[in-house]
């Protein structure tokens, strides 16, 4: 009872902030609303008993990615940014497309996770996650780390000074 009330409150907050992200004219406000939405998603994870996932969500998305995003917004601001609309005339089609995808996802998830029972109570999850990552899921885990390494190397290649790279 209380849990579902909290869930609907959090879900309402997520959707509200997400709407602000796409409708706000000020891009810094959009970024802040996205930060808030991602933090509230961590709250939903915590409500489901996924303590490790909730903490990682905040650490990675809010503490890492969103700070970099705000950093970019602060560096690349222009005077017109505050008044220009963030959307273009094609937004009704985009809205239709988004609604179609959302309906599809809801329908698929209902059949896919309908049989899964919610686990009562909060148990520590980090040890089972770690064990799973190093036994059953070790190949996907290593593949993802390889992709991240490639992205890092790519970032270094793009960011390095052209003049310097010509030197022997």
């Amino acid at each position: 009872m209380i849990e579902s009330l909290v869930f609907y409150f959090l879900a309402f907050l997520v959707i509200g902030f997400a709407v602000v992200v796409v409708t706000s004219r000020n891009i810094f406000h959009s970024a802040l609303a996205l930060t808030a939405a991602l933090s509230v998603v961590a709250g939903i994870f915590a409500l489901l008993g996924a303590d490790f996932l909730a903490a990682s969500q905040v650490l990675v998305y809010v503490g890492g990615i969103m700070i970099i995003m705000l950093f970019v917004v602060m560096l690349s601001q222009q005077p017109t940014d505050a008044i220009r609309s963030q959307s273009n005339p094609q937004w009704p089609f985009a809205l239709l497309f988004a609604i179609a995808i959302a309906a599809e996802l809801v329908q698929k998830y209902r059949t896919f996770f309908g049989a899964v029972e919610a686990r009562p109570g909060i148990l520590p999850t980090s040890a089972p996650i770690g064990r799973l990552l190093l036994t059953e899921m070790v190949i996907p885990f290593e593949a993802v780390s390889l992709v991240l390494l490639a992205a890092l190397v790519g970032a270094v290649v793009f960011a390095q000074d052209r003049q310097e790279s010509r030197l022997p």
Binding site: F28, S39, D51, L59, G63, I67, L70, M74, P124
Partner: protein, 355 residues
Amino acid sequence: MLELGPFLSSMIQGGRSWAVSHGVPPIGAQIAIMSMEVGITILLVSLVPMVLVYAERKVSAFMQARLGPMEVGPFGILQTLADGIKLMFKEDVIPEGADRWVHIFAPIIACGPAFVCFAPLPFGKGLTLVDLDTSILFIFAVSGLSTIGIMMGGWGSGNKFSMLGGIRAAAQLVSYEIPRVLSVVPLLMFYGTQSLKGIALAQQARIWGFFPKWFIFYFPIGPIAFIIFLICSVAETNRTPFDIAEAESELVAGFHTEFSGLKFALFFLAEYAYVFLASAMAAALFLGGGDGFGIIPTWISFLMKTFAMSFTFLWFRWTFPRMRVDQLMSFCWKFLLPLALINILLTGAWILFRS
């Protein structure tokens, strides 16, 4: 006898059974107890910065052969209280070019997470508010939220110095967060738990009957991890020698230039709360937590270690010159990060040979 934890819990249990026997519903009694515990923690977080501000002024004064605050109360003890009352009555100025709501919410978002971070700290036997399994990750994650508050302060002021301060703060905090988290990884590998309380308890033993088994004494992995953690904590709290975000000689006061009254006080509360948090974490992670000396109760020994660490923070501030921005970044990425990774490798080798 002098342990605070069992005494408090027996008081709380007694009060609860008394209330329930007098017709209070159990869930109501539970909620009342939880709000009392949260209230005590919030009070602690609000009072500790006052002590630290006084300590900072006195320590800096003695290091510069001055007396520091002497007028209000004996040895100026009430100076911080007087300053706090003064700040409450100051006019709250919002600049005309400011982004109004961002300016209002910035100090709240910078300060709020600091209170939440104190929940999983083990203050001694039976004095952990919430024994979270992922408490270390939780503290790192939640304390990262304060950076958003600092960036909001920098942007929302509508002032180029504040803006530069906010940008510098973001770059610095994101960079130093990485070696800081990696410096704690050896502890997680060594003790096999993420719980701050579990790590503190695992260190409460003696080698040969007298030498404490604190992590800092495990040469070489312990001292290296401790030094990386200490340096990164100083950088995370925006203090000299890493205070480029509020460098007085370059940026007026950086991100909090345009804040007055209680909003300014909230930014300062956050800074000193994080100094205390970092000291408490260092005490719990590397110095054995509440591991006592003889008959000293665990909570007193924990607070003694924490305040000793806080003194180190103050000491750093008044003895080192400020670093340049580029030095700061290259020091983090080219020295601290590889060192932290090497330390993780060494810990792996240690664990391999131990088993």
